[in-house]
Subunit: 138 residues, 2 copies
Amino acid sequence: MALRSAGLNLTAQRIAILDTVTHRPHSTADDIYRAVTERLGSISHQAVYDTLSTLSERGLLRRIQPSHSPARFETRVGDNHHHLICRTCGDVRDVDCAVHHTPCLTASDDHGFSIDEAEVIYWGICPTCTAADATARG
Amino acid sequence: MALRSAGLNLTAQRIAILDTVTHRPHSTADDIYRAVTERLGSISHQAVYDTLSTLSERGLLRRIQPSHSPARFETRVGDNHHHLICRTCGDVRDVDCAVHHTPCLTASDDHGFSIDEAEVIYWGICPTCTAADATARG
DNA sequence: AAGATTTTCTGGAATAGTTCCAGATTCAGA
DNA sequence: TCTGAATCTGGAACTATTCCAGAAAATCTT
């Protein structure tokens, strides 16, 4: 199991958190807190935050931090995918790299930086919200 | 003047803020507050935040919100440039689009969204911090 | 099973950045 | 000069997150 190979002890909390994020990608810490509480009976906020940090550090989770949103987590790590977020409902979708093979890690001018990540977020309005808006306007 | 053509009254505060951001791109609200205070004698935090919001809404400023950083503002709007940020010192540089002509607005799969912005941030370590780190390690 | 270590717990305080309030005042433009 | 826009003061509120510190519990090792 992933936790084991990352050198982490197996605890009910870690398993539940990892599993929750696997089934509900792009969850916030609070989403996770609620899901795990339901599943285990209870968990502390600190345990959730601690675990999310640990799992992110060890590379089992990827943390994404969209503007005006709490951090979100996903288990799809190691590839170069990006995100598409609805400005209205906040829905997050995965998007594969537009130009393929980690192209986004290549800036046109790197200013001498050693770049380790390209964070790409597409912002727009999802079809559902577009439809709802059209309906509301009559 | 830009303020005028955006239909905004000319006030000393707005002029000073716009001017400050022009000369110091990627300023935070607090940077701006301090610079304008020095320039005008005083300004309120609220006026700074109000003005930054107004100018951003009217398209005179672009707001960027890097993770773990307060919002930053710049007057370079309307083009499709991105940002390169040093993880160590927080230095922000402009980067032209890697693939040219607003390519970044094109996701490989738009999921039916109407995309209006592609936010691209390259993360890395700047040459100065790399050098400093090498020196510190001896 | 015991011991050592890791993890989680409670619960409260603190933080940063920003927004909101509400009423008074000042200012720009017509 | 008038009107509405903009700004002011000053304090409270907010969200997401981190930090604290010691106690308790669970996990892994032997």
